[in-house]
């Protein structure tokens, strides 16, 4: 039987910006996995966007080999995203590990996601090693943070590694702790094959690539495998490991982390969380698997050039290959033409998808304001899930509407408690709990409507607490609320893409803010254009865009017709980002403006 005592499977969990990717870089460097020449910052973040934004979106595994006390150890590291939108990615990687490094910034201390991720790790029975990072910073307060970890999280931190990933200080202590404190995997390579698929991605040449953790047994080229959930079988064409690029090896066996390629043509055949077993000799029981992720934020996506609908469709399909959480279905808007209603894990996820569509697929995108999905109960007993405000049935047909609510945990220095409470109050939050974690840290728990969170909660929280507060949330359920649809009329014509669902107490304010904002964004037209916000037939706010004053080239010097024509052609070109609602032209930015109402204040 294979000796598993020299394998360690671990991941790094942390609040966003606490230095996960940098620590991963140092571990890779220190173990000589990547030569200095090939090394670059955030090496596991292969997407251009990840490097640019300094965030990790996809999890990425790599195998490190380290000699400790004369013996060689294989350390499988799985880098995880830190943003709350991608919590599900974190939880997936945790299942593939026996231990986790909990990285805490020495000046920021314990934050909302530090806690959330720790609980996730504990739920998965992982051994957790706290590591304090950024000790080189002048604002580092190592002893305080140690105390925080002990008091707030309840982990022993007295001899935890204190490092600077950036400067490469004390990285060997982290490696030592991994080997000494994280248990070796258990498993039996003589048993039938049993693997957890913890992620997958699509490769144009190889087809779907399954990222797996082998629990029992072994897998090699030529083996026939069975996906227990989908029931499909495939013949393995390649197995390998990540170093961190893919490297084919002859065999993966119990305890290993690696990949399997098996001529799988569609990514849909690979369900993340599924159990992969031998087709000839399958195990009886599958692994528990994952909860399927549900999108929580929705918006309409359209192209500025309406003719590019098919390109948009192809691009979304390509993105979906590597991002199972992205959902989309066709949508038709009178204002914006054909496009898609897309579902996302959160606003960051939404933002990333839009940026990737624009950058990687060279599309000019218009998005409508993000919305959540409401449960709408009709008087005839029917229940509709509505994520597009313009699909809301007429008021008379609605019995009640329920909105999604989330349980939020906000960690903040005590001086901002008042400001945060005010914010949560304003966002229709219900206070649940307040706890002093230590002298400098308070945890506030609120139940908040998700719709309010995606609107501008995060930005408001940051600005009211000078960036000191952090927050995390989890889905709680649905709750009845007095919600109404606000429609926007331009020159008397309804613009479906600008409709929104809001709480009735806020409808007037939002309607007014929105008409004011549109007045600023929409250029003057040939006629005076009234902008009205309405609930049903009732006008709740009104602004007027006055008519354009002057736009004429009167003179024609000595028959220079070409100059005139070119000026007009240029003017036409500048209009390409405009959409026409009846006789009114709207710049594409206007459709996102609903989101940014608070910016002007």
């Amino acid at each position: 039987m294979k000796d598993l005592s020299h394998i360690r499977n671990f991941c790094i969990i942390a609040h966003i910006d606490h230095g996960k990717s940098t620590l991963a870089d140092r571990l890779i460097e220190m173990t000589g996995t990547v030569s200095k020449r090939d090394m670059q910052d955030q090496i596991l973040d292969s997407m251009e966007l990840e490097r640019e934004k300094g965030i990790t979106i996809k999890l990425a595994p790599t195998r490190l080999v380290y000699e400790y006390k004369g013996e060689e150890y294989t350390l499988n590291l799985i880098d995880t995203p830190g943003h709350v939108d991608f919590t599900y990615e974190v939880s997936r990687s945790l299942v593939a590990c026996e231990g986790a490094i909990l990285l805490v910034d020495a000046s920021q201390g314990v934050e909302a996601q530090t806690l959330a991720n720790t609980f996730l790790a504990l739920d998965n029975n992982l051994d957790i090693i706290p590591v304090i990072n950024k000790i080189d910073l002048p604002s580092a307060r190592v002893e305080d943070v140690k105390a925080e970890i002990e008091d707030v999280i309840g982990l022993d931190a007295h001899d935890c590694p204190c490092v600077s990933a950036k400067e490469g200080i004390n990285i060997d202590q982290v490696l030592k702790a991994i080997i000494e404190k994280i248990p070796a995997p258990k498993g039996d390579d003589s048993k039938p094959l049993k693997c957890l698929i913890f992620d997958s991605h699509y490769d144009n040449f190889k087809g779907a690539v399954c990222l797996i953790r082998v629990i029992d047994g072994q897998v090699k080229k030529g083996d026939h495998i069975l996906m227990m959930q989908t029931g499909k079988t495939f013949e393995v064409t390649e197995v390998g490991i990540f170093v961190p690029t893919t490297k084919e090896i002859p065999l993966l066996s119990a305890g290993d982390v690696g990949y399997v390629v098996a001529s799988i043509k569609t990514i849909a055949d690979v369900k993340v969380g599924d159990t992969m077993t031998s087709a000839e000799n399958p195990v009886k029981e599958a692994l528990p698997g994952y909860k399927e992720v549900q999108p929580v934020v929705f918006c309409g996506i359209f192209t500025v050039d309406g003719a590019k609908y098919n390109e948009l469709k192809d691009s979304l399909e390509k993105l979906k290959l590597n991002d199972a959480s992205l959902q989309f279905s066709p949508e038709n808007s009178t204002a914006l033409g054909f496009g898609f209603r897309c579902g996302f894990l959160g606003l960051l996820h939404l933002e990333i998808i839009i940026e990737r569509l624009e950058r990687e697929f060279d599309l000019d995108i218009i998005t409508t304001a993000p919305s959540v999905s409401y449960n709408v109960y009709k008087t005839n007993g029917e229940m509709l899930e509505i994520s597009n405000p313009s699909n809301l049935p007429p008021q008379v047909e609605i019995d009640r509407i329920e909105e999604p609510i989330v349980r939020t945990s906000i960690l903040t220095p005590p001086e901002y408690v008042g400001a945060i409470m005010e914010l949560c109050q304003d966002k229709r939050g219900i206070f649940k709990d307040m706890q002093y974690l230590d002298k400098k840290r308070v945890e506030l728990s609120y139940i908040l409507p998700l719709g309010e969170i995606i609107y501008d909660f995060f930005d408001s929280l940051k600005s009211r607490t000078k960036g000191y507060a952090s927050f995390d949330y989890e889905f709680e359920g649905f709750q009845r609320a007095e919600l109404v649809k606000v429609d926007l009329l331009l020159n008397g014509e309804k613009c479906d893409a600008l409709s929104l669902i809001v709480h009735k107490d806020k409808a007037y304010t939002r309607g007014r803010e929105l008409t004011e904002r549109l007045k600023k964004i929409i250029p003057r037209q040939l006629f005076e254009v009234p902008i009205q916000a309405c609930i049903g037939n009732k006008v709740i706010a009104r602004e007027t865009i006055s008519a354009m004053r002057k736009d004429v080239l009167a003179k024609c010097y000595g028959g220079d017709i070409t100059r005139k024509r070119k000026l007009l052609e240029k003017q036409k070109e500048g209009k390409k980002r405009m959409r026409k609602i009846g006789s009114v032209e709207i710049p594409s930015e206007a459709f996102m403006s609903i989101l940014k109402l608070d910016e002007d204040k």
Binding site: M548, R549, K550, V552, G559, D560, T562, R565
Partner: protein
């Protein structure tokens, strides 16, 4: 029918450059002027050859000498230019022949000379009849000069036109109507009303930047223009083009030829020509002009259509939908909308003839560009 063309001749010289002028004109000594006139005459005779072959013989319908300030040329210089035209081209006896003149350079001798050379139309750069305003924009004449010289010119020429600028500092619609009244009293038959356009790198631009000059704002300008237009139309002048007003029969044939996409030859620096569906532009500086540099552009069908729309909508007549080859204008939602909103007017007598509602002339750029494909 014989091929008919128009001729434009550019005289780039001025006594003094006006504050708002972004055009190719400059001050020069007599030697420079003479040298330029030699080059110009040379160009006229050389390029005329193409239009004199038996197959393709062209006859000139209109001549326009513009600038700059052509009236600052002395009698000898202008005679040389005009005689070169006559020696090089067939010119109709009744051809419209315009010369641009500034009030301060008009003399009785010059008027006589022009008349003897068959010039029959004078376009006088009046711009304003407010002395303070004239001085501020760098014009060399006063109200008195302008009115006296027009009176004098009228002794020799029936067809006198005056230019006015709308949008100058402190010049309201009421002021402009008074100017028009004074001009019409002297028998002016045609008035061009141009909006003040401020270009970067002109003195007026920096004057405005420094707060030394404040032209009317857009709203005031359009309102002033509207008052003036109403006044002129009340006096029985026809707005036959976006910025031109004339009594019946006094429309500028030369300018109409531009709008109708008729052929024309332009001589002199930065002059434009349009022949055989090709637009040409002479070099803009003397050195390049000497070496006969010309930019040519063969219009694509789409561009021809754009021109037809753009030029047609400037005129009272409008454009003919059936003349378009590439642009399917009836499928353009803007077109439908504009017709519905009364911005575009379809002629009662010909369903293909579309014109711009004069109430929207001041927004013509937006409208025209939206009709482009």
């Amino acid at each position: 029918m014989r091929r008919e063309i128009s001729i434009y001749v550019h005289i780039p010289f001025c006594e003094k450059k006006c504050a708002y002028c972004a055009f190719n004109s400059f001050c020069a000594d007599e030697e420079t002027k003479n040298e330029y006139i030699n080059l110009l005459c040379n160009e006229i005779s050389c390029r005329s050859a193409d239009f004199n072959s038996s197959l393709n013989k062209a006859v000139v319908r209109t001549i326009y000498i513009g600038g700059g300030t052509p009236s600052i040329l002395n009698e000898e210089q202008i005679s040389k230019v005009i005689n070169t035209i006559y020696n090089s081209f067939d010119v109709y006896d009744n051809a419209e022949f315009t010369i641009e003149a500034n009030p301060n350079s008009i003399t009785e001798e010059k008027l006589k000379c022009w008349k003897s050379l068959r010039v029959n139309r004078l376009s006088v750069g009046v711009q304003s009849l407010n002395d303070k305003s004239l001085a501020k924009i760098g014009r060399l004449h006063t109200k008195k000069d302008a009115l006296e010289k027009i009176k004098l010119a009228r002794k020799f020429f029936d067809n006198v036109s005056a230019d006015l600028i709308v949008g100058l500092e402190n010049e309201s619609g009421k002021d402009l109507c008074q100017y028009a009244k004074d001009l019409l009293a002297l028998g002016v038959k045609h008035i061009s009303c141009y909006l003040l356009e401020v270009y970067e790198n002109t003195p007026i631009f920096s004057m405005i930047e420094r707060g030394k000059y404040s032209p009317l704002n857009d709203e005031q300008t359009i309102s002033a223009f509207h008052k003036l237009a109403t006044y002129l139309q009340d006096k029985n002048m026809q707005r036959y083009e976006i910025s031109n007003f004339a009594f019946d029969g006094y429309e500028s044939q030369h300018n109409l030829n531009y709008w109708k996409r008729g052929e024309y030859l332009g001589f002199g620096i930065s002059a434009h020509s349009f022949v055989d569906g090709i637009r040409l532009e002479n070099a803009g500086n003397i050195e390049d002009y000497k070496s006969k540099k010309i930019t040519t552009e063969k219009l694509l069908s789409l561009e021809e259509d754009e021109e037809k729309i753009m030029l047609g909508l400037r005129c009272r007549l409008g454009f003919d939908i059936s003349s378009l080859n590439k642009i399917d204008i009836k499928k353009n939602p803007y077109f439908t909308q504009y017709v519905k909103d009364g911005i575009l007017i379809i002629s009662d007598s010909n369903q293909n003839l579309v014109r711009l509602n004069p109430l929207f002339y001041h927004l013509s750029n937006t409208i025209i560009s939206n009709l482009f494909q």
